[in-house]
Symmetry: C2
Subunit: 376 residues, 2 copies
Amino acid sequence: MDNILLIASSESDANIYYASRFLAPDSFIYLATNGKSFLLMSDLEVDRARAQSKVDHVLSYSDYEEKAKQSAKKSDGPTTSIAVVSVLLKEQGITDLTVPFNFPLEYGDALRALGYKLSIKKEPLFEARAIKTADEVAAIRNAQISVESAVDSAMDILRKSKIEGNHIYSEGVLLTSEFVRQKLHLKMMEKGCVAEHTIIACGVDACDPHNVGAGPLRANEPIIFDVFPRSIETRYFADMSRTVVKGIASNGLKKLYDTVLEGQELGISRVRSGANGKDIHEEINLLFENRGYKTGRVNGRMEGFFHGTGHGVGLDIHEHPSISRKDCILQQGEVVTVEPGLYYPDIGAVRIEDMVLVEENGCKNLTTYPKFLEIK
Amino acid sequence: MDNILLIASSESDANIYYASRFLAPDSFIYLATNGKSFLLMSDLEVDRARAQSKVDHVLSYSDYEEKAKQSAKKSDGPTTSIAVVSVLLKEQGITDLTVPFNFPLEYGDALRALGYKLSIKKEPLFEARAIKTADEVAAIRNAQISVESAVDSAMDILRKSKIEGNHIYSEGVLLTSEFVRQKLHLKMMEKGCVAEHTIIACGVDACDPHNVGAGPLRANEPIIFDVFPRSIETRYFADMSRTVVKGIASNGLKKLYDTVLEGQELGISRVRSGANGKDIHEEINLLFENRGYKTGRVNGRMEGFFHGTGHGVGLDIHEHPSISRKDCILQQGEVVTVEPGLYYPDIGAVRIEDMVLVEENGCKNLTTYPKFLEIK
């Protein structure tokens, strides 16, 4: 069994949150060894960590800092956090450590200078983090239910709105990306989820897949919704994309939509335990090429299908595994998105995204929101 | 001039966001050398980065990956991101690099294996990030205006509520931490700010400074509000704490409140360019001790004043500088909190926090919300 050392803030590092189930804004220290887990916590956090974290032993950083000072004896300099960690490592008889790829270089150097041998482990640091438990799937599904409800309320605004020229009006208000995004963010917050940078991108904006969109939404042009909030309570994410047109879609856009949908259905049909994400991604790529949709740079801008097919979803919005041009074998219990897209400034942009649970002989779609292009 | 290399996601790393002003969920590469700045961006992000980032040159990661493959020739293995970065470093004639303390260890090792010499720079990596420009101060103040408005709407709920026994009712609803927090989060989102984990902690909960609070708010007991949202648009934070009682505060609590307020006013009076944060923190500590409020562990739990006096606020909620037991010289243009607190389970908990702008001969308070203990 490896000795795993993490030093990070659990607000920004999902591994230390996963290992400790303790949320704190500042960096803290986690150690797992011999089936036991430890936190070294500041005076500010130690009592809360004892009450809330799932580790076996919550130790006082101040106590270990005192021990480090005593063993350093005459040194006047400040006691570094690595000197403090080292007291605990010595108590536990540890000389070899496994650390994540993103372990801070300064701490890595300091540990090596003290004689510790470090092994770097790539993601997934904790294999179990990729394989979701029933509770984790329920947390993701709950976030997804909120997404679907919020997206539907945004679609309702479009359904009830009126087209005048190229513009769309809802109860006299000119509909913009910003207006609909704000409504959707408020709906998400009502449901205890934080959504930021929700993509509501129309026309050419939508051809840049991570452009959030700005300005008036236009009738008869594709509008991509990509919504990926985190539940405040559980900290799990959900992720869904839909593409709609208020009004009439051109024939070119309809064909583009049908092709992306065909690609997405193909991808979903291929997701199962043991499948290679790379094969799934390449099969969708091939389908798009066979339908005449090429990928590459045109006038210096990327067109076609130039992002991955999918990614794991959990405590991070993008986590292991991937369905992309890299080899990656899917495993039962993983939650992944399937979200191909095609982007052509002269036709339009379409992305359709569901989240699915990888199963032994297929997958279960965690997304139940309907797929439709036109809103009359 | 140092050559600075960053590899991180700007959603979670404020330095790469500060340097690039480009927001992306996945890790990307930033290099500054000879007064020029570069990004290496994936196909998915390259066009958006060209439109939105403030760097001089946005380069295509795919192009550099191709160059790395060609120079590796017969290698069949995957091309690592460090091999790709190395092509750019060689083009720029760079052999020495400055990286942040939290540069990923795996990348540090890989760069050293290729012969690059790394210098690790502690925070602040960018000195200028600590010294706020007029625009940055305005962004923080704007977030703070939203905080004050949202907190006042929460206070309004308390003002209009009725006490029955120990409990507080608002229009017939039993007031809980969760209820008031949700109202406050919605208000913040209406104003384009994301607040999470807002502390609305009553009684003994409040004695654990980062406990967010749960369950019914009780009359005649201290309730700590600590609100620290981020503006979605600017990404700057604000931070404010207030302590109130619905009903009547005990004499012991009133004295505790007056002492914390005296400590806070003392702290604010000491903040100026050139002051040492450590001296300010120790002076407040001494005041509290002189007033008879001791700090230490009682029955295994921390009591008294056992957190820092303040921290920098900007693109991170906790950033350089600090006003704590560490030496740290304050500089003109920094924005810091001044937030002493005293916590005793048998008396109550009080924390009062303002954000101030460090000036040459003092400071400017960016917080205008009044300070009051009792709400009748």
